[in-house]
Symmetry: C2
Subunit: 174 residues, 2 copies
C-alpha cells in the first residue's frame, strides 16, 4: 500500500505563491495520491483564493525570459521556473529576448501584473505571439486567463512534487 | 448653445475612486454632454483601468450600512454615498443593521474587498438578500459583478455632477 504523502506549507507555496492556497492545502494534507491533491488544489484556487491571492501568486513569478532572482522566496519555485522556461530560452535570440522584454513592460503597464503562461515546451516565438494576442484583452478577461495559466503551472509542479515524494517514500520502504 | 463642461481629476475621483479612471477622464475633458462623458467613463472603467484600479475604487466606499469616515479622501463622494444609502438606512432596524454588519465581515473575509451595490432606492432587507445570494459566487465572478455595480454608482454620480454643473453654467450665463 502506498503511504500517504504529507507536505507542508513551504512545499505548497513552491507550487503556487498564494499564502491562502498553501495554508488551505497544508490544512487538508495528507493526500493519498496526485489526483486527490489536484482536485483539492483546483477547488481552492478557483473557489477560495480571492483576487488579492491571485495577484500574490502572480507576483511570485519572474518575468518570462528572465531568471528568477537569487533572493526568490521559494528556491524550489525558482528552480522549477527555470526548467519550465528551458525551451523558450533555447529558442531565443538577442532580438527576440529584447522583444519579449519590451512586451513584458507594455503588458505590465496595461494589466498591472506579470505576463503568465504555461511555458513548458513552448518556444520564444510562440510565447511572443501569445503575449501580443492576449495584450488586446480586457483587464478582467486577462486576469482570469492568467489564473488559468497559473493553475496549469501548479498542476505540473504538483506532479513533480508527488513523483519526487513517492520515489523518496519507496526508497525509505526498501 | 450649451458651454462644454470642464471637470478636473478631483471631481472624477468623487465619481469613481480609481486614480487611473480620474486621470483618463480629466485628460479627455471637456465633454459636450452627459452621454459623451458616460461613454468615455464606461470605456475607461471596463477596458483601461486594471484590476488593481478596480480594487482601489472599491476601497473608496464605506461598508454598506455605515457612514463614510469624516476623513474620507473625497468629501463629495462621502456625501453622495450617504444619499445613496438613505432608503437602506430608513428601512433598517437594529437587528437588520447588525445582520448587515455581520455579513459585511463574512463577505470581506471571503472576497477581500467591501460589498458593493447600487443602493439607491433599495431597502435594507433587499440589500441583505442580495448580499447573501452573492456570497456564494466564485471570487472572480463576484469581482466582475462588483465592478458592474461600481459603474452604476459612477453613472448616477456623473449625472449629478453634470446636472449641478449645467445649472451653474446657466446661472453664470444669465
Amino acid at each position: 500500500m502506498e503511504s500517504p504523502i504529507v507536505l507542508g506549507e513551504k512545499e505548497w507555496l513552491a507550487c503556487c505563491g498564494s499564502v491562502r492556497f498553501a495554508q488551505e492545502m497544508a490544512s487538508i494534507t495528507p493526500f493519498s495520491n496526485y489526483e486527490e491533491a489536484l482536485d483539492a488544489a483546483r477547488d481552492i484556487w478557483f473557489h477560495k483564493v480571492d483576487v488579492n491571492g491571485w495577484l500574490e501568486a502572480f507576483a511570485a513569478h519572474p518575468q518570462i525570459g528572465e531568471s528568477p532572482s537569487q533572493t526568490h522566496k521559494s528556491p524550489t519555485s525558482a528552480q522549477w521556473s527555470k526548467g519550465e522556461q528551458s525551451t523558450a530560452l533555447a529558442t531565443a535570440t538577442d532580438s527576440t529576448l529584447q522583444e519579449l522584454y519590451d512586451w513584458n513592460v507594455r503588458y505590465r503597464q496595461k494589466f498591472g501584473f506579470v505576463f503568465l503562461i504555461f511555458a513548458s515546451g513552448r518556444s520564444t516565438p510562440e510565447i511572443l505571439a501569445e503575449m501580443k494576442k492576449r495584450y488586446h484583452n480586457r483587464p478582467i478577461v486577462e486576469f482570469e486567463l492568467a489564473a488559468q495559466e497559473q493553475m496549469k503551472i501548479t498542476e505540473l509542479r504538483l506532479s513533480k512534487l508527488f513523483s519526487a515524494n513517492t520515489k523518496a517514500a519507496h526508497t525509505a520502504d526498501m
